[in-house]
Amino acid sequence: MSKMSSLFRTRKKKIYSLDDNLFYLAMKENCLSHYKHNKDYKALLDRMNFSPDDIHSYDDLEKIPPIPTLYFKHHNLLSLKNSRYWVKATSSGTSGKNVSLIGLTLTDLLRGWGMVRRVFSYHHLWSIRPHRYIVFGYEPHKGNDKAIAKTAHGFTFLSPSLSKDYAIRWTKDGYKVDLDNLEAKLIKYSRGKTPIRTLGFPAYTYFLLEQMKAKGIKLKLPKGSIISLGGGWKSFYKEKVDKQVFYDLVYEVLGIDDKHIFEFFGAVEHPILYTDCRNHHFHIPNYARIIIRDVETLKPVKPGQVGLINLLTPISVGTPILSIMTDDLGILHEKSCPCGEKSMYLEILGRSGIEDIKTCAAGAEELLKGDKS
C-alpha cells in the first residue's frame, strides 16, 4: 500500500496524534507522482529550482514550493487524463469567474471518504436517528460544481433525513437567497421532536438569527439539534462577528449552547476536513500539516506568530494540491488545549488584502475586491 493511502487510514483514535515520518513519506510520494505525470507542475518546480529528490526529511516539506490559490485560478493543473477524474470541483468565488478547478480521482475520493468517515465518527456526528436539515448554502443543482455545495449536500447524509431546506434556492431565474423560508421552517420544526441540524455559511446563519432576534423570536430547538458552520464569511467579511457573540446569539434565538455548535474548515484546493474541538479550536489532523509563513519573506514563522496560511496534504494524485498557499492570515497555537488533543491548532484571522479601502485610482476597487486577480 502507498504511504499516501496509509496516511489516510489513520485510525480514529490517532487522528490528532501526528505521525510526522509517515506524513513526510506520503508527501514525497505525492510530489514524485505529480512531478512524473504533470508536465506543468514539473516545469513549475524546475523553474523554482526544486526537485522531489530534495525532500530528505519531514523538515524539508517546507521547501516544496507552495502554490497560491490564485495560481490555480489561472491554470489548469490537472495531472492525469480526463477519464481518471470522478469529481471536478470549483471554489466558491462569488463572481463566478476566478475559480480554481480541482479534479479528484477515485483513489482521492476514497481517501477523502475514509477521512470524513473517521473525523465525523471521532466527533460523534454520525447518527441513526432521523434529523431535519437546514442548509445555509446552495440547494443542489446539476449546474453547480462548487465544492461547498457538494460538501453541504454530503453533510445531509450523516443521518437519515426527514427534510432538507436550503437558504440559496434554485429557481427558474437562477439561485435566490430565501432566508424567510428557513425562518418559517425553523419555527415549525422547533415545535416537533425531531432534532435539527443546520449547516452552512456563517454569514447567512448570522443574518437569519439577527432577523429573528429583531422580531423577538426565541425558539428552543429539539434536544440533540446542532448548529454547524462552514465556508467562511466570504464577501460578508465586514459583518463578521466574534465567535462568542455568534454563540450567544445562537443560544438566545435557538436555545442551543456552544457545545452543540460545530465549525468546519476546508477549501477546494485543500479538501481536508478540519472540525473544531469542544473549545472551538481547529486542531491539525494527521492528514495535513500547516505552515504559517512570514507575510513579507514567506519563510516559516514560529508558532504564535501571524502569517499567511500554507496548507499541506498528500490527499490527491489528481491535482498537485500537496502544498497550497491560501490568502488567509492565521496563527498556529502550540499551547495545550483543554480538550486534550496534542496537535497544534489553527486560528484563522481572515483574508489578506481586505481593508476598508477608499480609493479614486482607476480600477483599484476592482483590484482590491479580487475581481481583477
Partner: protein
C-alpha cells in the same frame, strides 16, 4: 441622518421629507434672490478659521490618525475652503462672468445663472469630498441635494450644518440624505428633481448613473483617474525619495498617486539599474513612514510570489514590503497598490501612441526636474491626455485655483443666459 433646511432628522423621515422636497426647492427658486458667492465664501471662511483654530480637533485628529496624515495636511485641505482659496477659484473659473451682467452687444446682455438643482452622488474616498462638492454647487448659487457615500462618518453633515450656522440663508440650498446605493428608486427620484446629477466614483458608479438619470437631466462625471511618473537618467536620489514618500503616504489610492515609472529609454538594462537605485530608497522611506498595513503586505507578497511562479523571476525587486516590477511592455496600468510600483520603458516618441488610448483616464504625471527635452515631453504628455504635470513627489499636491481633472467645476455647474437689454 438627514439634513433638511438646516435641521437634522432621522432616516425614518426620508420618504416624508422627499415628498415635500421638490415643492420646497421650487419655492426657493421662485422667491429667493440668486445666492451670492460672497455669502458662501464668507460662511466657508468662518468655518475654515474655526477648523484651523482647532475647534474640530476631536473629529479631525482621529481621522488624520486613521489616514496616517500629519496635521499639516488638514490645514492644506481646509485651505481650499478659505476666503483666499475660494476667491481665487471664482476668479479663475468664472473669469469675467463673476462680475454679473455683461454686455454681449448693443442690444443684448449675458450673465450666468446656476443650473438650478444639483444632485451630488458623493464617493467616500476623501472624507471632505461630499461637503466640498456641495460648496462648489453653492458657489454658483445652486440648490444641492447630497447623497452621502456608504460608510460616511458623519463629517459631511456636521460641516454642512456648521456652514448653515454661519450663513442661515444657506439652509434652503442644502439637503442631505443618507440613501443606500441599493435604494435605486429613491436615488432615481432625487435625480429626477435635479438639472444635473454629479457622480463621483469609479466605472461602476458612472455606469449606474447612466442607467437611471433622466434623459433631460445631465450627468456630470468626476470619475476615477490614473497617474504615474516619467523620468530619465538625470533623476536625482532626492527626487526619488520625494516620489517614494508620496507613494507611501497615499499607498497609491488617489487618482493622483503614481502607479509606476516610465523611463525615456528603450534599454531594459537602464530600467533594472533604475529599480536597483529606487529600491533601497523606497524601503527606507517606507520603514520611516510606516504606513503599510500587514494584510496588504501579505497580499502583495502573494501576488509577487505568484508572478515568480509564472516565470517572472528576474524582474522583481523587493525589500521590507515594498516592491518594484520591471516590465517589458509599455502599457499604462495600475500597480498592485500599497507600495508596489512598475518600471517600464517609454521613449518620448511613443508617448502619444501608448498613452492616448487611455482617453479620459489620465491625470497627473510627475517628472524629474532635469528631464532632457522637458518642454517637448511635457507637451507630448499633455497631448496624450495628462492634465497635471508636477515635480516628483508632488503628485497629490493641492493648489488653490487649479482645475479638477482638467476641468473647471464651476463652469459645469452654471448656464449662460443671454437676454435682451
Amino acid at each position: 441622518m438627514i439634513l433638511y433646511k438646516g435641521e437634522i432628522y432621522p432616516n425614518e423621515k426620508q420618504a416624508e421629507l422627499i415628498s415635500s422636497l421638490e415643492e420646497d426647492m421650487y419655492l426657493t427658486l421662485q422667491n429667493k434672490e440668486t445666492l451670492s458667492y460672497l455669502t458662501v465664501i464668507n460662511a466657508c471662511d468662518k468655518l475654515y478659521q474655526r477648523v484651523i483654530n482647532h475647534e474640530f480637533d476631536d473629529i479631525a485628529l482621529p481621522l488624520l490618525k486613521a489616514l496616517n496624515m500629519p496635521y499639516s495636511s488638514l490645514e492644506r485641505y481646509a485651505k481650499v475652503f478659505s476666503r483666499e482659496g475660494l476667491l481665487k477659484k471664482i476668479d479663475i473659473e468664472l473669469g469675467d462672468l463673476k462680475n454679473g451682467v455683461l454686455s454681449l452687444d448693443e442690444n443684448n446682455n449675458r450673465y450666468y445663472e446656476p443650473l438650478g438643482i444639483l444632485f451630488h452622488i458623493a464617493a467616500g474616498n476623501v472624507d471632505l469630498l461630499p461637503a466640498y462638492s456641495v460648496v462648489e454647487g453653492l458657489l454658483v448659487g445652486n440648490i444641492n441635494i447630497l447623497k452621502l457615500p456608504t460608510g460616511d462618518n458623519g463629517l459631511s453633515i456636521l460641516l454642512l450644518k456648521e456652514l448653515i450656522k454661519e450663513a442661515p440663508v444657506l439652509k434652503d440650498y442644502i439637503y442631505v440624505f443618507d440613501v443606500p446605493s441599493t435604494e435605486v428608486e429613491t436615488i432615481k427620484q432625487l435625480s429626477n428633481m435635479a438639472d444635473a446629477t454629479i457622480v463621483w466614483g469609479g466605472d461602476e458608479a458612472q455606469r449606474a448613473a447612466r442607467s437611471f438619470v433622466d434623459i433631460h437631466s445631465s450627468i456630470i462625471s468626476w470619475g476615477h483617474k490614473i497617474s504615474f511618473s516619467y523620468v530619465d537618467n538625470n533623476v536625482t536620489d532626492e527626487e526619488i525619495e520625494a516620489l517614494c514618500a508620496s507613494i507611501c503616504l497615499s499607498n497609491q489610492l488617489f487618482c493622483s498617486s503614481s502607479q509606476g515609472i516610465y523611463m525615456n529609454t528603450d534599454d531594459m538594462e537602464e530600467l533594472h539599474n533604475l529599480a536597483k537605485r529606487v529600491l533601497p530608497i523606497f524601503a527606507k522611506v517606507s520603514k520611516s513612514m510606516n504606513t503599510l498595513p500587514l494584510t496588504m503586505k501579505a497580499k502583495n507578497s502573494l501576488m509577487l510570489y505568484n508572478d515568480e511562479l509564472e516565470g517572472n523571476l528576474n524582474n522583481i525587486y523587493k525589500d521590507s514590503g515594498v516592491s518594484i516590477v520591471v516590465k517589458e511592455d509599455n502599457k499604462l496600468e495600475l500597480s498592485y497598490l500599497f507600495q508596489n510600483i512598475w518600471i517600464k520603458a517609454l521613449k518620448k516618441e511613443d508617448i502619444v501612441n501608448v498613452l492616448k488610448p487611455n482617453k479620459n483616464l489620465l491625470q497627473t504625471v510627475s517628472i524629474n526636474k532635469n528631464l532632457k527635452d522637458k518642454e517637448d515631453i511635457v507637451s507630448l504628455l499633455a497631448k496624450a491626455g495628462a492634465v497635471r504635470i508636477t515635480a516628483l513627489g508632488d503628485n497629490s499636491r493641492m493648489l488653490a485655483g487649479e482645475s479638477h481633472d482638467g476641468e473647471y467645476a464651476l463652469r459645469r455647474y452654471i448656464r449662460i443666459v443671454e437676454a435682451i437689454k
